[in-house]
Symmetry: C2
DNA sequence: ACACTACATGTAGATTCGCTATATGTAGAG
DNA sequence: CTCTACATATAGCGAATCTACATGTAGTGT
């Protein structure tokens, strides 16, 4: 879609290459976060970095997006956090809970269905091909 | 994610089978609509039906979603509409414009990038596999 | 000492799109 | 008449993402 001004701008300044439109990110972010803490706990800043690296730079997310999402996930019981001091700085580390693990599995399944449904409409296969 | 009350409920009553979460639909709807009018003009109600059929029932969208989207698309110049009377009823038919065709191509490209980025984070491929 | 960058966390408020709820009207069947 | 199907429309709500802004520590360079 076309660019728009405001927080949901289609191509904000931070997405300098082929970034993901924030509108399309909606509904997926929580699962993405669960995925990057699946195998080891990480603190917020490291989660932001992991999202960027694993997506090849397409997911370069503002802290204003990620931190409230972590709040939501913890409130929902999908992650649990604890505070540490590392090198003189406080750090809040998040680990996946059992419920979070189940939720991630569920979200992966939903992702498959989502991509199937959208993909079928957006790129219909020719009949009889 | 968990169900929520209000218009953005995760699993509204109308999604009785494997439906698409409205949060994840966001940002994709316009492209979906452009896709179903790509090869022939359709009126609003027929667009809703086509979306449902082509998605295998996963996209069962309320009129309150689709009609404002058609408004947006027409305002943006991606579709053009005209009124007819069919069988004694008025009907508003939408056709894809040249700009809309270009936009649809752009959106298809964005979809590929989007699925790549999200898929890579959500389901990382094992290293050295 | 100061300025700057990196690391690390947090949040108020604006924007936007999808939904619910609601409305209007015609045609056809029972 | 009632009900369903067809067909269109829109006000207002909710919530997630972003921008903008804030705080603080550590390390480097001048």
């Amino acid at each position: 879609m076309e660019n728009r001004t405001g927080p949901s701008a289609g191509a904000p300044a931070r997405l300098d290459s082929a970034g993901v439109d924030p509108n399309t990110l909606r509904g997926h972010l929580d699962a993405l976060i669960l995925a990057v803490v699946e195998h080891e706990p990480r603190h917020g800043y490291a989660i932001i970095e992991a999202l960027q690296e694993r997506s090849g730079g397409a997911l370069d997310l503002p802290t204003g997006t990620v931190y409230p999402a972590l709040r939501r996930l913890e409130r929902a019981g999908f992650v649990a956090s604890e505070w540490d001091v590392v090198g003189g700085r406080r750090r809040r580390t998040y680990r996946l809970t059992r419920a979070g693990r189940a939720e991630l599995a569920d979200q992966r399944s939903s992702w498959l269905e989502f991509t199937r449904a959208i993909g079928q409409v957006l790129n219909p296969r020719p009949q009889g091909a």
